[in-house]
Symmetry: C2
DNA sequence: TTTAATGTAACTATAATGGTTACATTAAAA
DNA sequence: TTTTAATGTAACCATTATAGTTACATTAAA
């Protein structure tokens, strides 16, 4: 594991919670989400706890426990999800400060920081144009709406799991 | 060290080579660049060898050895530098495939891939608007053009180093 | 009281970044 | 032809982020 798939897993989890709620399933458990993502439930709980701090989801304990969206899926943008995860710029400055005895070393930080801000803002603006609901709808279109039973079957299978 | 500062180091090196050539210094050595970046010369050589494969720089062996730009600094964009480093999207899909028994797991890959492409293209378009020369000029402005001796002094200091 | 989930600590594995040493190779200049 | 000062590159090591896993305390409705 190396590249940053945290946003992907978070969107996967939110779409799953949204769809599960759409079919009247109530709070979605980390185990059922993990079965779809094919990872460990703790990985899902850790990620969702970050989204809970940003008030994108609510966790429920006791019975029935699980996770629900705080807001309609149509009101949650991918940018909000990315921000909730605390993902910063993909471009970092020097890990240790360059030489201040060189005019380049002295000023490259602020200059590149400004440029990176422009690039990151452009990417953020793009992510802000997509919502969880749009992503979910597109997923369902691509996995063929003519098989509406697929998700229901999946949730039944999950519930039988050890 | 963790975040990705490879683009930053590469821009630093290219700006340094460009400025050194501007003052008639000839090929810049990895040792002098490393002194400005404050890292090990091998780190610079490794990065520059990737830029050489993309034909952004030329390395010279023998005497005098060092590095020069293949093209004017005004013709090298930050996007070309990023591409030369093989930096992909900051957003990765799942590290292992999700469940194909779930409509979300089945289709989330292509959907997010399309969205990530839009966001990455927006960031790339922004980086393509900045060149090494523009970055260098801005650095020199910020470190005060009224002290033109700073860089010359730095190169002299570097040459005295062990 | 039972039950089925979350909350969270602790440990491990893997990979990327980058720092370092060592040494072979190169090509101009003496 | 030898010297010299650099690049080219392999081989390590340290640090960090991601994420997989186990274990167990906590929660709250039934």
């Amino acid at each position: 594991m190396s590249a940053n798939s945290r946003l992907t897993i978070a969107v996967h989890a939110l779409a799953w919670i949204g769809l599960y709620s759409e079919i009247g399933g109530g709070p979605a458990t980390s185990a059922s989400i993990a079965a779809s993502v094919r990872t460990n439930p703790v990985v899902i709980r850790r990620l969702l706890s970050e989204l809970r701090e940003a008030e994108l989801v609510v966790s429920h304990r006791g019975t029935p426990a699980g996770w629900t969206l705080s807001r309609p899926a149509a009101d949650i943008t991918l940018l909000e999800v990315k921000n909730a995860l605390g993902e910063g710029s993909p471009f970092a400055l020097h890990s240790s400060a360059p030489s201040v005895n060189c005019p380049i070393g002295l000023s490259i930080g602020p200059v590149l920081s400004d440029i990176y801000d422009v690039a990151e803002k452009a990417a953020n603006d793009a992510l802000a144009r997509f919502t969880i609901q749009q992503s979910l709808d597109e997923m369902l279109v691509r996995s063929n709406r003519t098989k509406p039973s697929l998700f229901v079957n999946f949730t039944k299978t999950v519930q039988k799991m050890p």
